[in-house]
Amino acid sequence: MRRYRIPFLPLVVLVFAIATAMPTLTSNPTLREELFLVFMLVTLASSINIIMGYTGYVSFGHIVFFGLGGYFAFYLMQVQGWHFLAALIAGAIPSALIALVIGIPILRLRGAYFALATVGINEAMRVVFNNWEEFGGAVGMFFNFSVYARYGGASQARDLGYYSMAAVAISTIAASYWIKRSKFGLSLMAIREDQDVAMVVGIDPSRAKVAAYVISAVFPAMAGAAFFFRNGLIEPGHAFELQRSIESLVMVVLGGIGTVAGPIVGAAVYEWLRGFLITNPTLASFQLSLAGLLLLVVVLFVTAGLVGWLRNRFPVLRSYIP
């Protein structure tokens, strides 16, 4: 007898589609801004999960790809006059290439050494862009208003950015789901558990790891393009913000590392919680401390994260929540 299973991916796409349409249906611009951020965080957390959760490499400075994508797309739109969607796709190419080139040597490092190397790369990129006059140097770049004109005005451009971010988030989840279900994903998880054993059973670890790293670099780059397109302004401190990188790790752990649904839940919960803390007058000044305390509790006592805890507590859920 075959048990009926709810297909995970179509369900997620449906939920995202409804969520995306909500601000327009209810004409609620605040909700749209919140969802835009959540989509971005889902993208960042899910893509980190591919290299960190599946493959076991803590990419600490992963935000470097977000910044690179943002910068190159911004440059193509502002200086070369490209259309946003073309710049979004093309802006991801340098990130993928850089991930490929640096991935080959740094993925040989294990554990803490890899984490530190990714921090170094992010900081190096930040100071390079700080000095690169072609990209505006320390001041950064900002759009002329004429850039938005071709999309029919600033508000249409904002909508375009919003829908693109939703599409990027869904693509990231789809990729994450596909990897988890594929033979490729299985080889990544074998590397995570024991690289030497993985080699013995015929996996080429460096090839699989670099492939995972490149995939996990492409999506943050597109998110960066959409974010800074809407922002209209890009500068190095904001593009390569290590704090945001660490926040994405927190979301992954909060939701459940190594699961497809975890980063989505983690990103949504984290953003909701932060919004709650910031707007609450008595808690606002303790916002960071409370976030720290909550993180510590999760790290010490709920090691598997929210989704992981549910899966362990109710094993029947395992076939429904990947």
Partner: protein, 288 residues
């Protein structure tokens, strides 16, 4: 810029290097003993600055150099408590867990410090005059900072290599299971090492407060610098960290004569990544 400026700025950089090295020794000691990258390192450096600041501007007006002694003790206690609450439970977990546990402490310190002190820049106004020879001027505060850094480094060495406690710490770092079989309470030694590492960070923060203005977020820059230094000297190697600090300080001093200041960090990070890839065991380590 001319070569005339080379010697003074090299000396300046060298002196700063000792203080950088001190902070990095704290980070590397913790990593060497328990394989934990302490992400609360930066905020702890900033806390050291504020220990001196609070005592100095408080009703007693404590001399900043006495404040450094206070930072040493407070750092030790703070580190032991931090270890017991946040790290001990996950000491055997994968590195991500300890990274996030110490990061959570980072968030809490920054949260409390920014709501107490705000992010307005502060400074500890202390002047010890200066000595001038030719075109070289050495500020008294810089000279004292170097002296304190050297004394603290020597004390650390005496502790690690001349006492029974130091021997136990080294044994735990070497092989925790074997150390326990020899009757060493490894939990106590880990807590103590974390305390010493935190204390070193606070002392270096206290020294920095006498040299530069600061706010609760100032620690972040020194934290990343400590990462670079620690990797340069070999993760887990205190001697290497001190040497790495001096190298980075000297590099900062010398290169500013030849290239714009804003390019110096680029050079530092390139060296950092190159060392990680080519010689992960650091300058003093054996070839990987």
């Amino acid at each position: 810029m001319s070569l005339e400026a080379l010697v003074p700025s090299a000396i300046d950089g060298l002196m700063l290097g000792f203080v950088y090295g001190l902070a990095a020794m704290g980070l590397t000691l913790i990593f060497g003993v328990m394989k934990v990258i302490n992400l609360s390192h930066g905020p702890v450096i900033a806390l050291g600055m504020f220990v001196v600041y609070t005592l100095f501007t408080g009703p007693l007006g404590v001399n900043p150099y006495l404040g450094i002694a206070a930072a040493l003790v407070i750092g030790l206690v703070f580190g032991v408590v931090e270890y017991l609450i946040a790290v001990d439970r996950v000491i055997n977990a994968p590195e991500l867990t300890t990274l996030l546990a110490t990061f959570s402490v980072n968030l809490m310190i920054i949260g409390v410090a920014t709501s107490t002190f705000t992010t307005t820049p502060r400074a500890v106004d202390v002047s010890l005059g200066s000595v001038t020879a030719g075109n070289i001027t050495v500020l008294g505060t810089h000279a004292v900072a170097v002296a304190v850094a050297i004394v603290v480094a020597i004390l650390l060495y005496a502790l690690l290599f001349r006492t029974r406690i130091g021997k136990s710490i080294r044994a735990v770092a070497n092989n925790r299971a074997a150390a326990e079989l020899m009757g060493i309470d490894s939990r106590r030694m880990l807590a103590l090492s974390f305390g010493i590492g935190t204390s070193l960070a606070m002392v270096s923060g206290a020294l920095l407060s006498t040299l530069f203005p600061f706010n609760p977020l100032s620690g972040a820059g020194y934290e990343v610098k400590s990462f670079v230094i620690v990797v340069l000297g070999g993760l887990g190697n205190p001697t290497g960290a001190l040497l790495g600090g001096i190298v980075i300080g000297l590099l900062e001093g010398v290169t500013t004569v030849f290239i714009p200041v804003s390019w110096v960090p680029v050079l530092e990070y390139v060296i950092f990544i190159a060392i990680l890839l080519l010689r992960p065991s650091g300058l003093l380590g054996s070839r990987a």
